[in-house]
Amino acid sequence: MCCSHNITEKDIQPGTQDKSYLERIKGMQFFDPHIHMTSRTTDDYEAMADAGIVAIIEPAFWLGQPRTGVDTFRDYYSSLIGWERFRSSQFGIKHYCTIGLNSREANNEALAEQVMEILPLFVYKEGVVGVGEIGFDDQTPAEEKYYRLQLNLAKEAGLPVQIHTPHRDKKRGTTRSMDIALEQGLDPAMVIVDHNNEETVKEVLDRGFWAAFTIYPFTKMGNERMVDVVKQYGTDRIMINSAADWGISDPLAVPKTAALMKDMGISDEAIRLVTYQNAITAFAQSGQIDESDFATVKNVDQSLKFSGNTILRGGQQPRTDKSSIIIR
């Protein structure tokens, strides 16, 4: 979320939209392994599909204010595997999720205990590709306790882990998150460490973990910096996401960064790895990602023709003409 940079007159002027970058990434496919669609609109889904995003992962997270009961957690997890998955399919985007208790709400211990009890109901569900996002926020003892318990759960279920690294005291928080994962006996190849920056990436890669980068204006990575990271560290175990949520964020961060990389002379294959393939390789260790599903959810025509029966139609939403002032 935006909060701390110095705002100038220029920053608050309405922007103009230049979509010419879409031409430069035409035909490319993208996978955004961290985006909170619950907080986004159907306009975003349309724009994402148009930009070539074929599949996404929605990690369970903090909704902006604390929940007060276990039932709201249950309904939220339920919506990730139910309603949001369906909503996404209407735009031809395959939706996966990771399920977990986020670090902030781990601090309400009475509630956290109840949430831990219902997590096993959800982590084994179809399309749940990991335990996440979990880890540290304030780095309190309660956060550590539930982080460890959820690492155990992931290990038992054979699922990858998606680790949220803290905004404050990031470098030490990241190191500590990895130390604990190893202490709990996790294989670093099953752990995706998220929200990296130039300061944390080297250690994450050296220790054998996956390094995810969030392209998020003002508070996390900018994509020009991302280009330099890829130039310096290559593509091995590196992936990019938007982490778009209820804050000022950009659900097109992945395709936009791909376009920028192309402009900066990074090869198509390298772009494919960091904006698509590496995330799939990492999360497919759950056994829950089948790339042929991306085509199934996308290709509404093919299912329409099946036996001439409309029952298999994906139920994709008709487009509205956004530039028209007439609404029918």
């Binding site: 249950r74 997890y77 339920s78 595997i81 139910g82 309603w83 998955r85 369906f86 219902i118 109901l121 959800f122 084994y124 569900k125 179809e126 399309g127 056994g287 329409l304 036996s307 001439g308 029966n309 409309t310 029952i311 298999l312 139920g315």
Partner: protein, 298 residues
């Protein structure tokens, strides 16, 4: 009324279709799990993990089997099911129902934490669950869903709603099916459960659509024939003058089912269509097919 699945013949048919679509290992796994269904945790895990064992491809089912299933299952059709859906329904059908309260809670909990494909399987299983009258509220709740697949599982080729929903819930099902553009010809009991209240609601719905310059699926008149009266009759007159042949045919079909004298007179004014109806060349299913082709072409 007994659950449809209490029919031993249907049970055998179901098992045969499952068997021909899974490996012997998966067949053994299913039988092993269904033997443990008094243990709700084991049952949960089995239900959730079905696609990991079976994959998700479309099932193969012979014409003969489909015919027998339709007969034994009051119109039930599984031709377009995937293997995970079939196996989940099989698990539910074979669950231990001795302890009614526990049985209800176990299955109800599956509904409460279901992902999309699980919802489809759960609603598809309504006609094969024990204590069928116990699930009518759950079925009515499902109709409130906006998830297309879940709605279709309830509405299409499923004999449960017509057998167990009260009139209010049934009317919601029909109205919502038209509203969400489902293949209404696949609703089992559509004509049998037509009623005066539904006719009035559907007529209002048509008027709203007309006022908004939107099209109306001619099949909505499928439920109205027997209830044409002075209030509904003007709709028939309007349809009879429509430029769309499908509307005129719908009006004629509805009027042919009515004893209201003006409706009979109106039918006589459409002699070509009337004779097609008399000869059996035109009926609601033929019209449904024409509508589908019309939609696919447009």
């Amino acid at each position: 009324m007994m659950s449809h699945y209490q029919s031993e013949a249907l049970k055998i048919l179901f098992s045969a279709v499952v068997r021909q679509n899974v490996t012997p290992e998966v067949w053994n796994w299913l039988n092993d799990k269904s033997a443990q269904t008094n243990n709700s945790q084991q049952f949960n895990i089995a239900f959730v993990s079905v696609p990991r064992k079976t994959g998700k491809s479309l099932i193969r089912v012979t014409e003969e089997q489909e015919k027998s299933l339709r007969k034994e299952g009051a119109g039930l059709s599984i031709a377009l099911w995937t293997i995970d859906r079939l196996c989940r329904v099989w698990l539910l059908a074979n669950a231990d129902s001795t302890d009614k309260a526990q049985y209800f809670q176990t299955i109800e909990n599956l509904f409460l934490a279901a992902e999309v494909n699980e919802l489809v399987a759960l609603y598809s299983a309504l006609p094969v669950l024990a204590y069928p009258e116990m699930w009518s509220k759950r079925c009515a709740e499902g109709i409130r869903s906006n998830i297309g697949g879940a709605l279709e599982a309830i509405m299409c080729n499923n004999p449960y709603p017509a057998a167990y929903l009260n009139e209010q819930a049934w009317n919601q099902l029909v109205l919502k099916a038209f509203f969400t553009e489902k293949p209404v010809e696949q609703i089992i009991g559509l004509e049998a459960r037509a009623n005066a209240e539904l006719t009035k609601t559907l007529s209002d719905y048509a008027h709203e659509r007309w006022a908004a310059h939107r099209t109306v699926n001619p099949q909505i008149w499928r439920c109205t024939g027997k209830f044409i009266d002075k209030d509904i009759f003007p709709d028939m007159e309007r349809l009879a003058q429509s430029e769309n042949i499908l509307d005129r045919e719908a009006a004629a079909l509805a009027c042919s089912e009515s004893h209201y004298p003006p409706a009979q007179e109106l039918l006589n004014k459409l002699p070509g269509i009337k004779s097609a109806i008399t000869s059996g060349e035109l009926n609601w299913n033929v019209l449904a097919e024409k509508i589908k082709n019309h939609v696919l072409q447009s």
